[in-house]
Amino acid sequence: MEKEQYQQLEQNVTPKPPYFKNVAKAFIVGGLICTIGQAVSLFYIIFFNFTEATAGNPTVATMVFFAMILTGFGLYKKIGQFAGAGSAVPVTGFGNAVISAAIEHRSEGLVLGVGGNIFKLAGSVVLFGVVSAFFVALIKYILVTIGVVSW
């Protein structure tokens, strides 16, 4: 059988990913995680004197902490299999990427194992996050300078 003929057969046999179902599940779980995040944020604003602008940092830390607990008990991967991007995109997904790599490499020691590999998956998120934050800030700076928007 020729390669092209086989690729045709492979296309026919392989089931198409259930895009609509995946999107719906990602929407619901992703939305749920963000709702919890909003609740945490309100908690810090109401009980701890944070403002809407300053509540971000403790909220992110708390959400990553939740992700850490769930990852440690092996639950986050189950959520991930169900929700796909719904649990990967929020900051909990970032936490999961960091913690799962740390757990994985514990057997190679703290320095070469955990230290050397903790950002194995999340490293590109950090890099491209910082780079895009720089450019977004630069654009805003230019817009403020020419008087289109204010800080």
Partner: protein
Amino acid sequence: MVIVFQSKPSLIAAGVVAGPLEKRSIFSQHFDATYDDERWQMKTNEQGHRKMVEEACEFAMKKAGVKNKDIDYFMGGDLVNQMTPTNFAARDLEIPFIGLFSACATSISSVIIASLLTEVGAANFSLAGASSQHNAVERQFRYPIDYGSQKPQTAQWTVTAAGYALIGKHQEEYPSIEAATVGKSVDYGMDDPFHMGAAMAPAAFQTIQSHLEQRNQKIYHYDLILTGDLGQLGLKLLKGMFVENGIKSEELKPLRDAGAEFYGQDEAFQSGASGAGCSAAVFFSYVIQQMRAGTYKRVLLVATGALLSPLTFQQGETIPCTAHAIEITMR
């Protein structure tokens, strides 16, 4: 080129051990032991992997009533870098050893070499087989175990299992190896590491086709043609290739796949099982036991292997695959 063994080396005994999830396998009753601890009470996954290899070999030796000093050669491999679990098991077993890597096809490539050593008179007994440990393999080929990525329906689950067979000179009462076909490395341009069945099916097809042609046989001459770990989709593709080649689908009944059946219909495992331990565990437990019970008289075992690495995948290369086959008969 098909190898015909004049002396018909026999599969005297075999040992198969598996991990906790493998208790859910439909073949689990045929295994010698399943363990609740996937690390075999060792500190790391890799050490547990080594222990698993040793225990499978010990079961095989115990059943045949032989000791490690009676074994002339130890042939085997796994999927971890540099095959350290098998290499380290060889250190403790103290048997002359050659590590073999044909990815998940190692379960059969090792038996072929062991049979040749028996055929030329270099070995009275040799151990041959393969193994895989889910955590040790996944961390290397894909993501950390606890990383929450979504696996597609085409993905397969690397099993935690080791299967080793004891090959010796021909004895009537044991299944005997009549012939073997060493597969080529086949690449049909598949590049998805989460769809290995599609990459491996053409290799299985070529090996089976070439074996049947050179042995002048048809599929119906076999009670069972069992591939290693194509999974449900890979098996469908293999059958599809035969159908396109003019073979009626009802003639394909003897064609089955160990990986497709391994976990039953459990959807948690997507397309089924994979890993070097998958074919080794099923071939060296279920198949051998069925042959000794007289259910099957002539069987073709076709172990399939995807010869990729995480590096080649990241560099955008396609996945070459191979399949090795042995023909086993029982009087």
